[in-house]
Amino acid sequence: MEANIHFPDPSKVREELIQKYPAKVAKKRAKSIIVNDPQIIPEVQANVRTVPGIITQRGCSYAGCKGVVLGPTRDIVNIVHGPIGCSFYAWLTRRNQTRTESLMDANYIPYCFSTDMQEENVVFGGEKKLKVAIQEAYDLFHPKSIAIFSTCPVGLIGDDVHAASKEMREKFGDCNVFGFSCEGYRGVSQSAGHHIANNGVFKHMVGRDNTPSVGKYKLNLLGEYNIGGDAFEIERIFEKCGITLVASFSGNSTVSQIENAHTADLNVILCHRSINYMGDMMETKYGIPWMKVNFVGAESTAKSLRKIAEYFGDEELKARVEEVIAEEAPKVQAVIDEIMPRTKGKTAMLFVGGSRAHHYQDLFAELGMTTVAAGYEFAHRDDYEGRHVLPSIKIDADSKNIEELKVVADPELYNPRKTEAELEALKEKGLEINGYEGMMKQMTKKSLVVDDLSHYESEKLIEIYKPDIFCAGIKEKYVVQKMGIPLKQLHSYDYGGPYTGFEGAVNFYKDIDRMVNNPVWKLIKAPWEKAGNGAGLSASYVTQ
């Protein structure tokens, strides 16, 4: 849609964003600042190193591996092998909610486990301490699984977390112990850690339990982390539709669900960036196709449900999905009708994550708001331009360091759920089977796309565009709000949510309405600071 929004000349904006940088930095940044054209989709430089000294939103590989992908599974004891900080900072801060069936069920999410590596461990090696820690965790909790996460010094001093894990796994017999080489320096952002996590979960968890799952329409939900209860809302909708969720990667999940995931007939992917590897690997090994969906936004949810029904090709399911949509949609529409007059025509900027900056544009569109600029924190070119660019992405030194698992069809368990012809027919119908169109196709012409936005660029963009709302994370939250612009956190949801599905959409509309129309933004200036309000005038009462 071509909105009635006045866009500043985008090429001038680009000039302004980079003019203060040293020449080499400016040249590099220019390639990541792109004026969008959904028809031709220009190339965006992404997943490259951040220039040292630039204030970036990005985190590290460990954060992507332990924090994002493994964190939400409740019954794994996640031991961080390293100095205390890494485990401390990832302790409960991502708001992965989880709901056990009873008080007896395992839930280690509120716990923080670390080997608290000391100087002597760095000098003489930390493997011994790690094994002691694993033994102590086993003795204390008898968990189904223990996962080990390597932090920066571990890789440098050469501790072999995989060998230590194997040794302990074999010793215990009834506890699956496995490690991740997700040192913070690997790759250029969290993204490397997602890939490492996918590899580890695929190697050590998926396929361990071949018990056939029960249900007519069985799928796995990939790239959903149950922040603020997002997964609960999707689970509610699936249940209503009669869709069986075999496993979630990894919001509100358990070890046994993931071990049994390969018995599902479809993988639906929400966050393409963090989990697409898993989709590919499961397709190759087990013959389960994956499909890109989006449960952020009421319309997107409806669309995604219809796609799932189309995939299973079952009239009963299709009818049930329509019933559910018909039941849910009016409640959503009522809220839109009430709020829209207050939000229509307003503008948003989204600089966050590896899929959220795309998905949340749907919710803003449902409120009549336009996204004038957007970008990811740690995505790759395919998340911007679509998966068709994958063959043309250059593999650089940083991505080469991340292992690509060699996956082949399982001699016994490979079972293509659909034939090639069936998949082609589904693609014809608009289903993103093993595909993703990316963010830019959906954004307006002349909107700005910036990868790995720096602090400096964000302040400039706000000055130039004066958006009504800015979406990013905790580090940006109060910087932007100090400028008098509300910032919606799209990692933590400002401790609200859920934002998925129908109920989530309603939550989001209300939050955005509250934020952009909050009276506080008009109260920033004191009366005496406002022009013509008598500041500095002579006193009303004087003694003379």
């Binding site: 040293p22 939103q57 033994q135 040192e183 320096y185 008098g484």
Partner: protein
């Protein structure tokens, strides 16, 4: 139950830390550097360190926390981080224009052996540091000590790299702030002013991490100790270090480099610690304590006396950092309360000895442990064995408090789920009165909640 796997039976652990009562050095260094005016903290390591520290400090203060990173990749980890740091210094001065870059190391750069002194000197020699600007550094390996150690190391770096002795003494005294909140630093300045003592307080995060909403983001807020003040610290008549773990190392360094004599005191939390602070201040300037301060003290003692029945014998578990725990424990004892369990992840014999000495005299049966495996898991187990009436500690304590149904007061770092700590002090007589009010409210709200209908009191 949130912490449903925490059992009553305490087993000694040697490898596993569970629910730590500490974090790592660099975040303390970042916090300290924010207390210098015009300073951009810089994390020499992977991006994740900087991101995690900024996030945690931001959640604690609900304020912008600006800091840069050397953005190590695998290459830098193998070949050393010098190129990254030099490039970072150049980029930072041209884009973010600070007066000072305060570099701290991380476990990564320490493990590969990057020498910050050498690299920052090279930056200067290569002309990457503009005239009149500074790059200072502190070594803060995450595998030694805790966040408190990192704070102390950066404050020491600030003291030694700025303070100069001109040979002409200035009529002023240094107050080296241990790890405290902006509100506490503001209160220290107010009390010093009341006493007529001219001080250089460093670091000073007031007007940095409690900045007003003005509709503009001020990258370098108006607060923070200035370079001129820091340089003059070498000519001060004396230093008062508030906190033997977080502040004293800087005072020792300053005595060594500039011959400024020092005295170490507790952070003035509670009545007795504030008494010592006020006495020390009045002594250095040789003036009598003003009546207003004596009256402030009197108001605190008045409440202690009037409300003593609600405090007597109440059993308290507390966790946190050494320089806060010492005066807090002393305050609880002055209030006739019973500190039953005390835990701090920060290691150190000095702290251990001080705490044992305090407890030996007034509460020898208290469980106390610090250092490795002195974590919240252990504290929680102790609480299950010997229950308490009140828990005091950082936000993570709320999980134990809910499970054990114990009143909880947020105190220390980090506080992620409430505001107030940056605005209302815990130091001085007024700050202690606020803390006492919180303690009383927690206990009395609980009494109201649990009272039988016929025992429900109107007047308390």
């Amino acid at each position: 139950m949130l912490l449903r796997h925490t059992s009553k039976e305490v087993k000694e652990r040697e490898g596993l830390t569970i629910n730590p009562a500490k974090t790592c050095q660099p975040i303390g260094a970042m916090y300290a550097a924010l207390g210098i005016h015009g300073c951009l903290p810089h994390s020499h390591g992977s991006q994740g360190c900087c991101s995690y520290h900024r996030s945690t400090l931001t959640r604690h203060y609900k304020e912008p926390v600006m800091a840069a990173t050397s953005s190590f990749t695998e290459g830098a980890s193998v070949f050393g981080g010098q190129a990254n740091l030099l490039a970072a210094i150049e980029t930072i001065f041209s884009v973010y224009e600070p007066d000072i870059i305060a570099v701290h190391s991380t476990c990564l750069s320490e493990t590969i052996g990057d020498d910050l002194q050498q690299i920052t000197r090279k930056a200067k020699d290569d002309g990457k540091v503009p005239e009149g600007k500074y790059v200072i550094f502190a070594s803060t390996p995450s595998f030694i000590g805790s966040h408190v150690t990192g704070y102390a190391n950066m404050v020491t770096g600030i003291a030694t790299q700025f303070a100069v002795s001109t040979g002409v003494k200035k009529n002023q005294h240094n107050i080296i702030a241990g790890w405290m909140e902006p509100s506490d630093m503001r209160e220290i300045k107010r009390l010093s002013k009341e006493l007529g003592v001219k001080i250089v307080l460093f670091p000073d995060t007031s007007d940095v991490l409690d900045a007003p909403q003005t509709g503009k983001h001020v990258f370098y807020p108006k607060g923070g100790t200035t370079v001129a003040e820091l340089q003059s610290a070498g000519d001060s008549l004396s230093s008062l270090a508030l906190g033997s773990i977080s502040a004293e190392p800087a005072a020792i360094a300053l005595e060594k480099s500039c011959k400024v004599p020092f005295e170490t005191l507790d952070i003035p939390i509670g009545l007795t610690a504030t008494d010592r602070f006020i006495m020390a201040l009045s002594k250095v300037v040789g003036v009598a304590v003003p009546d207003e301060i004596t009256a402030e003290r009197g108001r605190l003692v008045d409440v202690m006396a009037d409300m003593e029945q609600y405090l007597y014998g109440k059993r308290v578990a507390l966790f946190g950092d050494p320089d806060q725990l010492l005066p807090l424990t002393e305050f609880l004892l002055d209030l006739n309360m019973k500190p039953v369990h005390i835990v701090s992840g920060t290691p150190g014999q000095r702290f251990e000895k001080q705490m044992r000495k305090l407890l030996e005299a007034r509460s020898p049966e208290t469980n106390f442990r610090n250092g490795l495996q002195a974590d919240m898991f252990l504290l929680h187990q102790w609480m299950k064995n010997e229950p308490v009436d009140l828990l005091i500690g950082n936000t993570y304590g709320k999980y134990m408090a809910r499970d054990e149904d114990v009143p909880f007061i947020r105190f220390g770092f980090p506080i992620l789920d409430r505001i107030g700590h940056s605005y209302f002090p815990n130091v001085g007589y007024s700050g202690s009165l606020r803390l006492l009010e919180k303690i009383l409210n927690a206990i009395m709200d609980r009494q109201d909640r649990d009272a039988l209908e016929e025992k429900f009191e109107l007047v308390m």
